[in-house]
Amino acid sequence: MDAATLKRAASAVVVGVGGLLWLAAILFMAQTAQNSEQFSRLHPWILAINVAGLAVLVGLLATKLAQLIRDWRGHVIGSRLKARMVWIFGVLATLPILLVYFFAVQFLNKGIDSWFNVEIRRSLDDALVLSRSALEVRMREHLADSTRIAEQIDDMGGSFPGALESFRRQVGALELTIATETGTIIAVGKGFSADIVPEDVPDEVLLQVRHGQPFVSLEPQQEGGYVIRTAVRIGDASPGEDRLVLQGLYPVAERLGALADTVQSAYQQFGEKDYLRKPLKASFILTLTVVLLLSLLGAWYGAIFTAQRLVQPIQDLVQGTRAVAQGDLDTRLPLTSHDEMGFLVHSFNDMIKRLRRAREDSRRAQQAAETERANLAVILARLSTGVISLERDWRVRTVNRAAGMILGDDLEPHVGAQFDSIDLGKDTLVRQFVDACRERFTHGAAEWREQFAFQSGTARRILMCACTPLPGEGDEPGGYVLVFDDITVMLQAQREAAWGEVARRLAHEIKNPLTPIRLSAERLRLKLMPALADAKDAQTLERATETIVQQVEAMKEMVNAFSEYARAPRLEMATVDLNKMVTEVSDLYRAQGAIRGVRFTVELDPSLETVVVDPGRLRQLLNNLLTNAVEALEGQGEGSISVSTRRTTRGGAEVAEICFEDDGPGFQREMIGQVFDPYVTTKVKGTGLGLAIVRKIVEEHGGHIEADNRASGGARIRIDLPLQEAGTDSARGRGTIEPRRERA
């Protein structure tokens, strides 16, 4: 049992017990109003209990009303409806109660007054007077008897004691007593009564007689009935003697006494009630008022309680609805009844249950979609292919990392922007790409595939791009997805592969005949030279064979160069101090250059320690580039060649950068993108394979090479060689690896 249930049960018990006590108190109070003697003593206590109940009820009601007012001011849900219901219930209960109270008070006032109307009072007074009159006749008769006896006794002088009894029997008195005016009894005529003690003469009797007034009175008896007491003076006393008093006690007829008792009793009770009329009315009205107040307060408290019970499910519903509106679908309303409100609550709970289930399904689906999206994002992020998805209105929906890498700029910040408004600067790869795509879109092509050639600075980039519409509603596409890849390297590799094949075949087909040609030429000179007598002929032969031999040697050099380019040697990797090797090779050319007026500058990064390379191939690379640089400055007079190294980061990896710069004529702008292709040269003598071999060596080491012109004039070639992590096999020492071809 939870705390709320316990509290409700306790409240119910308290209210029940209190209600029963209150009801009992009211009933007791009603009983007291019924003149029941036994409740006379309880009356104050019952009143006190009712007043206490009243006070408790006032307190409870005040608390409830204060709460209601607070709720009203605080705009608590349901407070206005509850207040309206309390008002209606309260007024509906109050009006009839007040009406009943008003008529009850009127009835009480008039009813109680009618009990004591003038007629009854007058009748009782008359009855009393009548009774007195009847008894006064007897009283006067007995007073006359007593007076006559007193005269006779006075006439008898001192011999009256013996006649007193005969007088008593004569007048039918109960007792005749002769006493002095001080109350001393002298003689008694009492007959044979059980009570032989004579009745004293009361002081007030003696007092009145002393004043010369006869005394007569009707005296109610302790054991019931009445006695008429008379007292008269006997004669005149002699000087110095006490006067005598005759007291007579006469019976009243039993019948007459009973009638007199009835009248007396009725008169006394009426007098009591008449005297208590005001408190009686006040008490009744008070009782009625207490009941009224209890009923009123109970009705108002009941109105609040009922309104609370009626409004509570509505409050629960409103709060539940708000909670649901705020996304809390765990709300469950308590089912307090099985009526229409209970049905509503049940339906609400059922609805919430369904909503929760639907939300759970939706959440799971969304989670699955998110998972798919995350997977897709990971896949897209790992793709080397650039992918850009667009909304139907060309707003950028997603961009993967490869797209930014291919286009040379971070496109993530442009997600949500118009694709055709992305402008990262004139002549940028992004601008050229966007322009190319926009041109396709504006021609109405929704699905297309095309190869673009863009100029990115000094480099020429070939992109293969495909556009596919995404499924949408109806015929309209839901968006577009652009998939593109940089195929520059791939095309280069294809070209290199082709050139390699050509070089291999050339070397194979040409190199073989060259030796017989040279041998044949030398044989011809040896055989024919002695036979020629004419010196002119001999000179001609000598010159011809010499030319043949020289050209054969030249062709052999060319074939060797082809062979060098085409061969796929195994790299003998070793840890090399790059700065040291650069210094050594540069020193070889420094002396040669000094002769031609070329100034050499070497700037080395001391933080650059060792690189893992094939030392022979790296030395060949340095030789080729420095040779090219020196040859580029031929005929120019003075010039300068700069070689520098530094540790830097490219593409998130640490690399060793070697930069060669000269202040010669530089590369022809239209040829910058092709300077590393075989047989591309601007020199008269050269095979056109020098830079091709350099790039090949760089790529075999997993590096990167690019060529451009300096802004101040002259060529610049920058090489990045990856710095392999210490601990790898090749880094720890010598090793042999296959040349890298992944770039191709």
Binding site: P44, A48, Q222, D274, A282
Partner: protein, 201 residues
């Protein structure tokens, strides 16, 4: 005369009744509930205890100034009830005093309209006397003469005994069916202070 436990005051204490009455007056707002009388001030005086034939007998007088409201109530038929409460305690030094005797002497004063006499009834003995005036009846009940309190055999020599007496006056109806209404009207009901005396056997 009869010996009994002290008369139980079956009504709420005077102040409590008065407070409750005022509270109800405020709540009911129905005006005055009863006639307001000035409460009479009862004083027991001239207390004397003498030994007569082996019995301690008590003489005392009571000042009983009866207000007009009470006179009117009696003339209207209500009964005036006067009770003398008498207690004898044995005084103890370190404990509460021990009650060794108590008695209540009750009188009723009523008006007999037919005979126009005021009746005084001793409820302990049943004796009844009638008087022509209310004052005569009041004078009769205001004086106690030779009221036996305790036998000397019950009072051992040595300890100190203390007697006390007080008078309680109120109204009643006869019979007592409307007595509860007097809750609202007998404001003049009163009780005297205890008057004490010392018994030294």
């Amino acid at each position: 005369m009869s010996y009994s436990s002290p008369a139980a005051a079956h009504k709420l204490p005077y102040l409590a009744r008065r407070a409750l009455g005022w509270l109800l007056c405020l709540i009911a707002t129905i005006g005055p509930l009863g006639e307001a009388f000035a409460a009479p001030e009862l004083v027991v005086r001239d207390v004397q205890v003498v030994v007569d034939e082996g019995v301690y007998e008590l003489d005392a007088k009571l000042d009983l100034p009866l207000p007009d409201g009470a006179r009117k109530a009696v003339e209207s038929g209500l009964t005036l009830r006067l009770t003398y409460e008498i207690v004898v305690d044995r005084v103890r030094r370190y404990m509460l005093d021990a009650e060794i005797a108590s008695l209540a002497q009750r009188y009723e004063v009523s008006y007999h309209a037919l005979s126009q006499r005021y009746l005084v009834r001793n409820l302990n003995t049943g004796e009844q006397h009638d008087f022509g005036t209310l004052q005569g009846a009041i004078d009769r009940v205001s004086e106690i003469r030779g009221l036996p309190v305790i036998d000397t055999a019950l009072v051992s020599p040595g300890p100190v005994y203390e007697g006390r007496i007080r008078a309680v006056l109120d109204l009643s109806t006869a019979p007592d069916v409307l007595g509860w209404l007097l809750f609202w009207s007998d404001d003049w009901s009163a009780a005297s202070d205890w008057k004490t005396w010392t018994l030294r056997p």
